[in-house]
Amino acid sequence: MAEERRQKHCSVVLPTESMKAMAESVGVGQLQEDSCVALSEEVSYRIKEIAQDALKFMHHGKRRKLTTSDIDNALKLKNVEPLYGFQSQEFIPFRFASGGGRELHFYEEKEVDLSDIINTPLPRVPLDVSLKATKEQQKVESTEPLKVVKPGQEEEGTIQGKGQGTTTPDGKGKEKGLIRLKPRSTHELSVEQQLYYKEITEACVGSCEAKRAEALQSIATDPGLYQMLPRFSTFISEGVRVNVVQNNLALLIYLMRMVKALMDNPTLYLEKYLHELIPAVVTCIVSKQLCLRPDVDNHWALRDFAARLMAQSCKTFSTTTNNIQSRITKTFTKSWLDDKTQWTTRYGCIAGLAELGPDVIKTLIIPRLAIEGARIKAVMEGPVISNIDKIGAEHVQSLLLKHCASVIAKLRSPPDNVEQYRTEYGYLGPMLCSHVMKARTQAALQAQQVNRTTLTITQPRPTLSVSQSGLSGSSGPRTPSIIKVPSSLTLMSPRPGTPSQPSPPATKYIVMATSAGAASTQQVITLSSSQSASPVTSTVPSATSTLQPLVKLEPGSGPGLTASRPLQKYIVVSLPSSASSSLETKSSVLPTSISSSSLDGGMKLERSESPGASTQSPH
């Protein structure tokens, strides 16, 4: 071993080419080979000598790195003029050029514009040396664990610290002062920050929707929030914990919108706080009960929304080390497979899985369609046990249809046979079949409208997030809000002012009632473009203006009513034709029937009579 090393020092000599290159760089042209050899040996020896001396300076400088100043000092020892100001950025300053049979090495000397140098701002003055005392405690229970002990005033108590004679205290707590410089989690917030935090959190959960919109907008765009991130994260997780117990649906929605806004902020990186945020989000997806009146309140939208958040965070933060996605998938699948799971939770699980993408749908959901269909059938056609179960089953059914149809449309080849579907997917077969067929026609339709593709191609997925970050960015006053935003997006997109899209002939709305039998209430309503314009422009959160495009359904009433009389509760899914076409352009990813894609890409506007819930719809 030693031998090898020594041989190395012995034999290393600069190549003669280097000699030539250096000679050339100082203007000596033809150097004889013999001279080169002699020179290279001599130069190698001198360099080694200088390096050895430079090492000496490094040792006395108490450093591990040899610096150029060490070499300068070594040269000085030899009475050689040091290379003052050697500051080449590269290791080898020579440049090589050849041509006409000549090879040339030279220094690259760039022309420097003096005014550039003068005009560049001065670099920051380096910090001055400072002294920091840190006391290494032998005893944990010593009197002043972190106080800087100055020797002049030391007290006996601090010295008496007895070691256990082991090296246990060694690894930790050294250099406490340095640790103190960068504490692990929370900073002390400045007064301004504290005020800001208070305002924001109050606005987010307060009753004024306008304020909330502003607050969420601020969270989503403010670049300086990272110091408050730990507090926001705690606020959300605590808030969810409390409000789930109290079945306060509105507040849960607000909190999820906060999560959404945080995730949308490009300057925040949430990974360190996922341990608080993910449980909160998952709770909102799968909790048995999220509202006081599960038969009336639309907690399904919250589940859908949270599921989308979950999918987004999986996409953003899942790595091979934290395995977020696989862990989440397992959690969902496990409770879905459980027979005793309630319909609400079942819905959440499926929604959560479905949002994770077509691959997950294909491998986890489609194989279970038959089983799930049987279960739904049992509820729908069996004796009525409870209305709640029935509503749940309906929702699960429509959810499954919505997500699976597009995937199946891609999996299967065109001739869609109802019987074949029935044998394969059981109870849900026929309905799937029709959905799949719709998806196909939609896809075909969209394929014709190529010009529309440019509009939404930036839209990775018709989820809430996209609607905010994508197109809606142009409309300043509109603020991100959980339920409403997608509608505004889809309504926005055909806006006449946007140059890329000519104003569409009509906007399609799919209206879906939440009342019993809603599965069959989906409808496509075509409004004139002039009508569609009004909701677009009226982004002011006034309820009246929004009423116009909305189609309400009276519970229990038949589908297809387009009355404009406001009623208790309805869900509006708006789907402008442009949006639907845009969805179809994506159909390579998500082949959809109209209805499924509209659910996917559209929004649900939910209104209920409860004042808390009404505020959540900002229109």
Binding site: H9, D128, L131, G152, E154, Q160, G161, G165
Partner: protein, 750 residues
Amino acid sequence: MAAVQGGMSDADIETDIKTEPSTDGFGNNNANDGRVLSASPGSGSSTGSNKQTAAVTPEDQQTLLAVLQFLKKNKLIESVEILRREAGLPENSLDPKATESAGAGSGGAAGIVDLEGGDVSSLLSRVTGSSSAGAQAPTKAVAEDQPDVRVVLSAYSQQGDPTLYEVYYSDLKKFIETVLDCHRAELSQVFYPLFVHMYLELVYNNHESEAKAFFEKFSGDQECYYEEDLRVLSGLTKKEHMRGNETLLDFRTSKFVLRISRDSYQLLKRHLQERQNNQIWNIIQEHLYIDIFDGMPRSKSQIDAMSGSLAGEAKREANKTKVYYGLLKEPEIELPLDDEDEEAENEEGKPKKKKPKKDSMGSKSKKQDPNAPSQNRIPLPELKDSDKLDKIMYMKEATKRIRLGSDNLPSVCFYTFLNAYQGLTAVDFTDDSSLIAGGFADSTVRVWSVTPKKLRKVKSAADLNLIDKESDDVLERIMDEKTASESKIMYGHSGPVYGISFSPDRNYLLSSSEDGTVRLWSLLTFTCLVAYKGHNYPVWDTQFSPYGYYFVSGGHDRVARLWATDHYQPLRIFSGHLADITCTRFHPNSNYVATGSSDRTIRVWDVLSGNCVRIFTGHKGPIHSLAFSPNGKFLASGATDGRVLLWDIGHGLMMGELKGHTDTIYSLRFSRDGEILASGSMDNTVRLWDVMKAFDDLETDDFTAATGHIHLQDNSQELLLGTYTTKSTPVIHLHFTRRNLLLAAGAFNP
């Protein structure tokens, strides 16, 4: 050689220093200085031969003749006369030869040449007119422009067949491998010096390729701790390189010292004579000093413990001089016990116990330590009132001192220099731990106050005039409140500051720098008072004497200098190290100075005589830290090899080896009562060692004490009491406060 020189300079200065330290001996020092500055081996040895005149053996006489001839040739008639008279030689004894050699050109010079080599017989033959030698020498003299180096190198001029070198060496190797185990370890010591000398001979005689082959073949056999030197050697492949190579000069000017038992030596001698292996025998005779002892051959581990230095082990007689390692008697100071009591009574009824304790301490110090030097062996400055106050403070603090031991480890307070950008090169604390000074690579010296008391300058002269000098608080009044700050920067050096030291009275600060100067700074005005010039090369370390007034410095020029603050020339020059002096320390009694060097030896020098009184070998890398134990009996040293060695100064023995650090040890410090040794290293750790146990455990008997053959136990792990890791801060200074709190300092290295 060194010792001789010291002796010479002494004769002049001793009187000076004894009578009145404040008067200067500039003239003498000047002469001395000049002589040593041109520290060429040639001039040094010639002085040496002057001294040896007392012993007039036939060989010496021949040497003398050669010297006389040289002097005569150089027209130094007066010196010739003096030397001749002293040596008692008849006047005409020289003449015929002299004329003859003068006729042969520079035959005299050739004589000197060989005189240096030490081969007196061959010298004489040449001097006495062997015309061939005479003819050879002048050509050489013309070719070489550096007479001193030529003098040294020409010893290699006699040569054998270059191709046979490998045969000789491997023959010897074979022989040594086949001898009995007990002798093998001892004889193996011969390998390294032989290898080096043979290689150098080959190089000198321009057998470059043979030299390379020889090096490659055998360099792997050498002990790993010679690797540094081998690296230097490996770069050296041409005769021209040898000129001006310091390592080589060291190797040549000093004989490599080996300690070999008589039996082993006889074995070697017999073998070489049987084989007619003259080449090797010549080298052994000329370049090696074999210190033969009677008794059991040493084991491999014993040899390894002591070897590793650039020039072999220390000769036994080098460590025989008596060293007064005891402490000086403390001056009796009447403790104002009343104050003490008042304070103490506040605490509880302790004062009763304290009083008798103090008395016993007092009586102890009254007894004269038999090993202590006499109180006025070297003149020490008188105590000022402020010093007495400080002593009182010290004793008060000492009563509150925590007794440390293996079951009671000190707490450590770490002072981290932030934003030093790798530029912190030296740190020192005042004895009372109230100030910290740092030396930086950007040539600045900074002082921090670590107590609430801020650093203040003295007022300007005009303002001082206005002060009422009779008032009680005049010392307070002279300070300018406006200048109060926690730290002060002092500018003056023009290179990195490598050494720094506070004076015991906290009024001065010393700093040594790459620019070759040692500067004295006032901590009252924060200005430079004196720049001591003498070292022409970087000064690696400097330290104040524990009693103030004197200080020592050492640097790249391989000499340590003793200075007094009021002399701008050094009082003593300690020369003898073969490479840079890397650290210097004063003995607690101020009568001795220890220096550590890159030649991997530690030398202890007598301040009074300037002689080297101890040479400690055993380190395998440049020594970067030294510490005397508070009782003055022991010395600890740390080196780049990460080991701490403990030495008994009185007996000149190695006492222990502490292994554990993985990088250079830059700081060592004994606790105030000497129970614990703290070591700080580049590997970002502070380690605490139970040195009392190390000293107690050592098994010594008369034999080992007499020969210095210590058998060390490998018990570092038992002695290691604690390891304290920093995050990323090399520990470059350690200090125990008067109450035994350990302070450490270093620059954070992100």
